[in-house]
């Protein structure tokens, strides 16, 4: 960690900053103090208060001063004030879009200001905006670096020498190859990561007194920059590429297209893999192929509740809350025109500003219930009970439920997404049973409904709960026959996975079969065998999956 901070002090312009992940405690304070010492006294430091308005960053009209002076008074933005210095952003994970955008602009412009984003998110919470993480080279975790001594640090003289040396440091072909090779082996997609690793390697060489980047520099850079971005564990041992294409195809394609990976690259990769933290490896191994749903889908802008994100012109009488400060701000420039006397403020209707808020949306749970003859009728009762229980809770949570039943030759939506307990109860009571098991049709219907829900304006996340014994015997076109029915169902399940719908399959068969499990894995969802599923246990399983959904 102290190494990363030292590199940041050597090349603030090229590297830009770091994310420090951990709670506000003594350890973090000592890390920040260390960085303070490294950057030296001459650089400006600014700490951005959490929840600060983005206007403060850009500067602009100073309202209070303007009103009292009766002429426009400009205020310098914090970005301009801190140029070339250090900006600390506490509770970085809470920073809103405008603040993040301003900081991104600052990083992209190469102003030389260092950004320390202090990420205080707990496990399962939304971390710092991805766009910021992408641009900051280092992601330092304060908790799992307990053994890293902070006192191994370069002196100010050494840092100054390193800064002078930096422009003269060259990066060899081999070093670049190693970085790219490592990035690709770890599944790091962004070229920005490569570029940042190159800069980190150069800074490290400068710090070590070299003017040529060595293998050690590359290893340090890869461990610091690339390892935290790994999305997969490299195949160990690193597979040597087959030499055959090289021999068969001696095309003069500049001679470097498919060269066997050099020894240096292998050693760097190995060192970087060793730097992956154990928790992360576990996480990567468990990661399925499914795609995470974005932030934008999980929250939405609604007029009345949630966190404030700004204001807009509007009439407060429609129920939105008046934003007093912004209203005054809007009225301020007009005072002279409206002939307001000193001490009086003339506010007109067009000045009214109302608050805009952002609220998290609930989950829409799509229950897909097998009503075929093979699913014994008493399971239907249990499924109904579970849906009712969840619906009762949804009033508190803003969750919605939808119900699809499938039997005979087709699936039908019995209940479109609703929060209404009464409607749900009626639809459930009318749920008929008997006939074949058109599993594929059910999955297709569920997928369509999920897409429809996701496209809604204030959609939250979607969760599919499939209660079935998976004895599929009706194909998608309504004809009988187990083999076709099963292959269709698998196809539909894969399509659901590609749509990124999180799912849970509850196997209700008295003897759970392998096919149900394979459908669950094709959907990329969880599988739970509950041969004697009762309403409470179904509810428990749904809860567990939901928590997992939130944590991922």
């Amino acid at each position: 960690m102290s190494r990363a901070l030292a590199l940041l002090a050597v090349d603030p312009k090229g590297l830009g900053g770091a994310v420090l992940h951990g709670q506000a405690d003594d350890r973090r304070d000592s890390v920040l103090a260390l960085f303070d010492q490294l950057v030296g006294a001459q650089r400006v430091r600014r700490r951005l208060p959490p929840g600060m308005a983005a206007e403060r960053l850009h500067g602009g009209l100073d309202l209070a001063a303007t009103l009292s002076a009766g002429r426009p008074v400009e205020e310098r933005g914090l970005l301009a004030v801190a140029e070339g210095g250090v900006i600390t952003l506490p509770m970085a994970e809470r920073a809103g879009g405008p603040v993040v955008a301003a900081l991104l602009g600052m990083l992209d412009s190469g102003s030389g200001t260092t950004l320390l984003a202090l990420d205080e998110s707990m496990a399962g919470e939304e971390p710092v905006a991805a766009a910021l993480r992408e641009r900051l080279p280092f992601m330092l975790r304060l908790d799992d670096q307990g053994h890293d001594a902070l006192d191994e640090r370069p002196t100010l003289g050494e840092l100054a020498a390193a800064r002078n040396r930096l422009p003269h440091v060259t990066v060899g072909e081999e070093a670049m190859k190693s970085i790219c090779h490592t990035a690709m082996a770890l599944g790091v997609g962004s070229s920005r990561a490569d570029v940042l690793a190159v800069r980190a390697a150069r800074a490290n060489a400068a710090l070590e007194g070299r003017t040529d980047v060595s293998e050690a520099d590359v290893s340090v850079a890869c461990a610091l920059v690339l390892a935290p971005r790994a999305t997969r564990v490299p195949d160990v041992p690193p597979e040597p590429p087959a030499p055959s294409p090289e021999e068969n195809d001696p095309a003069p394609d500049t001679g470097e297209a498919e060269q066997p990976v050099s020894e240096m690259a292998d050693r760097v990769l190995e060192a970087t893999t060793a730097a992956l933290s154990p928790g992360m490896l576990e996480g990567l191994r468990q990661q399925g192929g499914g795609k995470a749903r974005g932030k934008s889908a999980a929250s939405t802008v609604t007029p009345r509740h949630g966190r404030r994100i700004g204001s807009r012109a509007g009439d407060p009488r429609t129920g939105a809350r008046l934003d007093l400060v912004d209203t005054l701000r809007a009225a301020a420039p007009w005072q002279r025109l409206r002939g307001a006397r000193p001490g009086k403020v003339a506010v007109r209707r067009q000045d009214f500003r109302v608050q805009r808020c952002k609220a998290k949306n609930g989950t829409t749970i799509i229950f897909c219930v097998d009503a075929s003859g093979s699913s014994a009728l008493h399971r239907m009762a249990e499924a109904k009970g579970a849906v009712e229980l969840l619906l009762a809770e949804s009033y508190v949570r803003r969750d919605r439920a939808a119900l699809i039943s499938f039997r005979g030759s087709k699936a039908e939506i019995l209940l479109p997404p609703t929060r209404s307990l009464a409607r749900a109860k009626r639809a459930l009571a009318a749920l008929p049973g008997g006939g074949g098991t058109p599993l594929a049709a059910a999955l297709v219907a569920a997928g369509q409904l999920a897409t429809q829900v996701a496209a809604e304006r204030d959609a939250g996340s979607v969760l599919l709960v499939l209660l079935t014994d998976a004895r599929a015997n009706v194909a998608l076109d309504g004809t009988g026959g187990r083999p076709r029915a099963e292959s269709d169902a698998e196809g539909a399940a894969r399509a659901l996975r590609s749509m990124g719908v999180p799912s849970l399959l509850i196997d209700t068969a008295p003897r759970p079969g392998a096919f149900a499990a394979s459908i669950a894995s094709a959907m990329g969802g969880r599988y739970i065998a509950l041969p004697t599923a009762d309403a409470q246990r179904v509810r428990g399983a749904v809860e567990a999956t939901r928590e997992g959904l939130r944590a991922s």
Binding site: M176, S191, V195, L337, M499
Partner: protein, 339 residues
């Protein structure tokens, strides 16, 4: 303002570069949507555009950078007051719309300073005005608030920004090529918005080590000595600039014959694209590509090059078929556009 990375030094990403050039040659194509992960050179490419775009004539002092041949209302007023309008060559604007931009900043608002100091009601132009006759780049357009996206696309389509707020009422020209970027995994764009973009390209990180090394090698050279690096690529950028210039002159005389038009409709019908935007865009884009190639006539090769970018975002999704739309377009192209 630090110099931006030269356009021609961007490694690979041919489809994205072609789409941007096509849009530069024929702004009527209406915008390019670039999908892809972070760090694939999307922003770099767009920000490099001014380097390859010919300078344009603009009225000096006009806040909308309007064309001397077709002056805006404000310039007309100035002329009516007896002022002689001068004009000069200026670079084509490429304006960045930051993710957190407010409606005020985008549309423009009351000029607070003027209002306070002289009590004068004056319009302070926003980003749309600055982007007039140039490019407007919206990073992460899929995360932008809906009402702003609607507004942007509406202005992009009409070429006029109508302001009715804060007691202001005016309109000013805002003709620009909108370039959006986004990562589809972080939220989709509504299909009706997607359809408004003329072209859509997918960018990926290069998978060949050699290409990735090129990326960082050039970046490193640029970081170390931007001046020398720009110098080195100056010639290449100038070549691209000339290509655009020539293509703009040539495009009106490029012929697309009935046989080619037949292929265009056949392709769109086979893919089941909604509406006629697909056909129209494909036709315009292939004509622009031919013009860029210096050809007099659109050939199959031109169609093949632009068919995926003109059509891939206009296909209906089939829930049972998880093949990407790119593959579907390519399959249809291979089938129907065989020589």
């Amino acid at each position: 303002m630090s110099p931006s990375f030269p356009f021609s030094a961007i490694v690979g990403q041919h489809e994205m570069k072609l789409a941007l050039l096509v849009a530069a040659v024929d702004p009527g194509i209406r915008g390019v949507m670039v999908f892809g992960d972070r760090g694939t050179g999307k922003s770099t490419a767009v920000r490099a555009m001014p380097g390859v775009l010919p300078l344009m004539m603009a009225v000096t002092g006009c806040r909308y950078g309007c064309d001397p041949g077709a002056p805006c209302e404000e310039c007309e007023d100035r002329r009516a007051r007896g002022e002689r309008l001068r004009s000069g060559k200026v670079p084509v604007p490429v304006v960045d719309l930051p993710l957190g931009a407010t409606e005020d900043r985008v549309v423009g608002s009351l000029d607070l300073e003027r209002a306070l100091s002289s009590g004068e009601k004056r319009f302070e132009p926003g980003l749309l005005a600055r982007a007039n006759r140039g490019f407007l780049y919206v990073d992460e357009v899929n995360l932008l608030e809906d009402h702003l996206v609607d507004l942007l696309l509406d202005v992009a389509a009409s070429g006029v920004n109508v302001v009715e707020r804060e007691g202001l009422s005016l309109r000013h020209p805002a003709r620009f090529v909108i370039v959006g970027s986004g990562n589809p995994e972080e939220g989709d764009l509504r299909p009706q918005l997607l359809d408004r973009f003329g072209l859509s390209v997918d960018v990926r990180t290069p998978t060949a080590v050699a290409e990735r090394i090129d990326v960082i090698r050039r970046r490193d050279a640029f970081d170390r000595d931007p001046g020398a690096f720009m110098e080195e690529w100056n010639m290449e950028d100038a070549k691209v600039l000339r290509r655009i210039q020539q293509a703009r002159k040539r495009i009106d005389s490029v012929i697309i014959d009935d046989a080619m038009l037949g292929r265009v409709t056949a392709l769109c019908m086979a893919l089941g694209t909604d509406g006629l935007r697909g056909e129209l865009t494909l036709m315009r884009a292939s004509r622009a590509t031919a013009a860029l190639d210096g050809a007099k006539k659109v050939t199959l090769e031109h169609l093949r090059q632009v068919a995926p970018m003109a059509l891939r975002h206009r296909l209906r999704r089939n829930p049972l078929d998880d093949t990407s739309s790119t593959t579907r377009v390519e399959r249809a192209v291979a089938e129907l556009l065989a020589a």
